[in-house]
């Protein structure tokens, strides 16, 4: 993401809920590519504002990964709570949710106008075709970055097979599976 020149360190603002909202709203309006691009952008912006140390920010980020939901949301929520308490956390939710929401309402309107044109269908066909490749590369990166053990290989493959075979039970399989992994690691340390 490109920062406007004046954000390069000179105009620091107080970490009020309003300013937190503005900074996050700007990032979430301008940043494409999901949480793993948004999170570093938030880290940079907050650090430049002098609101939080980079080290501390990424500690909160690693903690945010325990929670379900978009990682950009949980990181912004927990960081802003640290900076400005409950009002900060509320500002973070609004700053994360509102910009994409209104962008998509616009896109939705656009689609209902032009969605049936040949050009638009071709664009979506092309964009849709690269999606499995993006998922595969996400998988490749997380596989590469993890320290593997026999236990974790069994966990991942076992749960993945169950999910593929019984997709309609995915909700319970996931909750149950993660609970079983946790308890298993508690009682039987490898």
């Amino acid at each position: 993401m490109k920062m406007p020149a004046r954000a390069e360190g000179i105009t620091k603002t107080e970490p009020t809920p309003w300013h937190i909202f503005l900074v996050l709203a700007r990032i979430n309006t301008l940043t494409l590519g999901g949480g793993y691009v948004i999170v570093p952008a938030i880290g940079n912006a907050f650090e430049k504002q002098g609101w939080i140390e980079e080290e501390e920010f990424y500690r909160i980020f690693s903690r945010a990964q325990v929670f379900p939901g978009p990682i950009a949301l949980s990181t912004a929520f927990l960081t802003s709570y640290r900076i400005a308490g409950v009002p900060g956390a509320i500002a973070a939710v609004l700053g994360t949710v509102l910009p994409p929401f209104f962008a998509l309402i616009l896109v939705g309107g656009f689609i209902s106008l032009y969605g049936n044109t040949e050009l638009f269908k071709r664009f979506l066909g092309g964009a849709g075709a690269v999606v499995p490749g993006l998922v595969a590369s996400m998988l490749w990166r997380t596989t590469k970055n993890r320290k593997w053990s026999v236990r974790s290989v069994i966990e991942v493959i076992g749960l993945a097979v169950l999910l593929v075979v019984f997709p309609s039970a995915a909700f319970f399989l996931l909750l149950g599976g993660i609970a079983v992994f946790y308890i298993g690691r508690l009682v039987w340390k490898s």
């Binding site: 880290g43 990424y58 500690r59 379900p68 939901g69 978009p70 998509l104 595969a136 996400m138």
Partner: protein
């Protein structure tokens, strides 16, 4: 009633949406295909959700809600998907002291869960055809994004952050 069933679907998705947008896509697909749209339309929806600003799961919720029940549907679906995560985080901030919780074990368990979800996502999104073009697109996208430095920044950053977990 469309609004209610869309909201309920995304509330469920929000509860198990571990590990970032891509791992959730497989789940979202099973909630809404073929109930509300066909597989082709779903791929388009994900393509739009990916190429617009904001988290994918959130964008998918907004789009499905919009398609099914207009503006109110979009609003309801969007807030449904974040409702549980927000409650979980608030509860943790409020009660962390009282919860005996092994952070590193939970991390590893969630990591396994989210990787299984990514595998499921990959499985449900792979082209169901022997035609070469979809596979060429898939492999090209994989090659470009997996073996270039485009997304490297966060890998490094998150490893810095994981040095020594603080407790809550």
């Amino acid at each position: 009633m469309e609004i209610l069933s869309v909201s309920l679907a995304f509330l469920k998705i929000g509860i198990v949406a571990f590990g970032g947008g891509w791992s959730t896509v497989g789940l979202i697909k099973h909630e809404i295909v073929p109930r509300w749209m066909n597989a082709e339309a779903f791929n388009s929806l994900i393509a739009i959700a990916q190429s617009t600003p904001g988290p994918i799961a959130l964008n998918a919720a907004t789009l499905v809600g919009w398609q099914k029940a207009g503006f109110l549907g979009a609003l309801a679906a969007t807030f449904s998907v974040i409702l549980f995560p927000l409650l979980a985080m608030s509860a943790t901030l409020a009660f962390a002291k009282y919860i005996p919780f092994k952070r590193s074990l939970a991390d590893e368990s969630l990591r396994s869960g989210s990787m299984a979800m990514i595998l499921m996502t990959l499985w449900v999104l792979l082209p169901r055809t022997a035609l070469p073009m979809p596979w060429i697109f898939t492999l090209a996208a994989f090659g470009i994004t997996a073996f270039t430095k485009i997304k490297g920044e966060l890998d490094a950053a998150s490893q810095r952050g994981t040095r020594g977990f603080p407790h809550w």
